[in-house]
């Protein structure tokens, strides 16, 4: 379960950085980039709290 959550978080991070790179390369419009970054942010915020502080709590 924890691995799955980490993967989801990773997808969230990827959606925060790859759209800007695609925009820089001229492969994506600014509005689409903003949308994908917003989705990436939500994915990260929902998934990361479930695993990121777990080692220190155990």
């Amino acid at each position: 379960m924890k691995i799955l959550l980490k993967l989801i978080s990773l997808v969230g991070l990827a959606m925060s950085i790859f759209p800007p790179i695609l925009f820089f390369l001229g492969k994506m419009e600014l509005s689409s980039m903003k949308l994908w970054m917003g989705i990436g942010m939500v994915v990260w915020m929902i998934s990361a709290p479930f695993w990121i502080n777990k080692p220190s709590e155990q």
């Binding site: 950085i17 903003k34 970054m37």
Partner: protein, 467 residues
Amino acid sequence: MSNRFFKKIVADTNEYERTPIPENELKGNKSFLGMYAGEHTAGTEFVIGPLFVAHGVGALDLVLGLLIGNFLAVLSWGFITAPIATAKRLTLYYQLERIAGKNVVRWYNLVNALMFCFLAGSMIAVSATAVGIPFDLEMPTLNDWLPRTPGWIITVLLMGAVITLVAIQGYSQVSKFANIMSPWMILVFFAAAIVGLAQLGVNSFESMVTIAQEVIWNGVPLPGMSRFSIWHIIFFAWFCNMAMHIGMSDLTILRYAKSWKSGFSVFAGVYLGHFVAWIASGILYAVFLQANADSQEFAPGQIAYQTLGIAGAVCVIIAGWTTANPTIYRAGLALQGIFPKVPTWKITAIVGGITSLAACFPALVMKLLDFVALYGLLLMPMGAVIFADFYFSKKMGFKAEGALSSGSNFSLPALLSWVLTLGFCLGLNFFYGVEIFFLGLPGWFVAVAIFVMLSKINYPQTKSLAA
């Protein structure tokens, strides 16, 4: 809200205000990496980067200055603060009380708490420039000192209340919050730089160098702003956290470290926050200036939202939050030194209230560079006193922790080191025109020298009869 509510959320919180940290509470490098990465990738970075642009620094001066200045800051944390923190494992305030006495520390703590409140307030104000976007809030401009609208006041007060509730829960909650947010936030800063460069027309390394030198950091200050050289950048990067490293505020944080080497874990924070983030936010501001040549508006939230959308605005909010939290926590500990019998959570709640009021004034944001330099300078001499007491008491033949060893509540050497050093710095500024950014270095040596000389007179080491 009732006391019962606050007591419920702070249950089982022990911050070890007047005792060394026990072995089972020590934390590894990971905890400090997260804490520092979150703390130094902050709301202030959205202000400092643009202000460098406004001050007309050159591109090469900026990059070299940041590399050198941040390196000196990491060395200061690693070699000056962390060894003392892990040897003593006491808060700055209790350590200072043992050296300077309660009566001196009361004044120090008051100044310290107020400075932290104002700093945290500036971060809440920065966050508010993003929170206000959906409400079409009128944003402050570069020349604003007072709040423009009631809407601004309501926004910062609400934000202050929420941030204070998190800070009340202590170091662990702050650390967890920073751990969760910092990886995403750091990526958003990288994204800001990439998108900003694209919007400025960069499509190759050569064009990036040209645009950096001719458009972003073109060496021409905005009207009414002084011009910054490489020396300004080096000293600002080194001393923007002067209160924390050579001023010893981070004794309170690093006392939890298993090893003194954890002091170097700050490198991740300063190079991501005070290098990448300052450059990224400078690029964002250059994009804003290109699109709005005559605009005096200075609203980091609005600037980030225009370029990155909702993710940019949320990043500004979170960035301000993750720095305001530990700053309010530190301010709470400072006041704890004055009112040791009042619970930490109650003190933190009061500090949060003062911080929220301070955040109403945009002047804290517009004059941030000067304010950051001033607050470090005001607190630095007491850090020098702790350093001198720790390293020179035996070698120079005076009693360590003078107030404690003499059973006094007042140490003249500590008080005079503080006051005379600030007088010396004021003199350098007033009579020789030395700018505030450059006063910390000579001031630190003067503070150490005064404390050692006066301690040798006031607390001479007596030879034991057994020897």
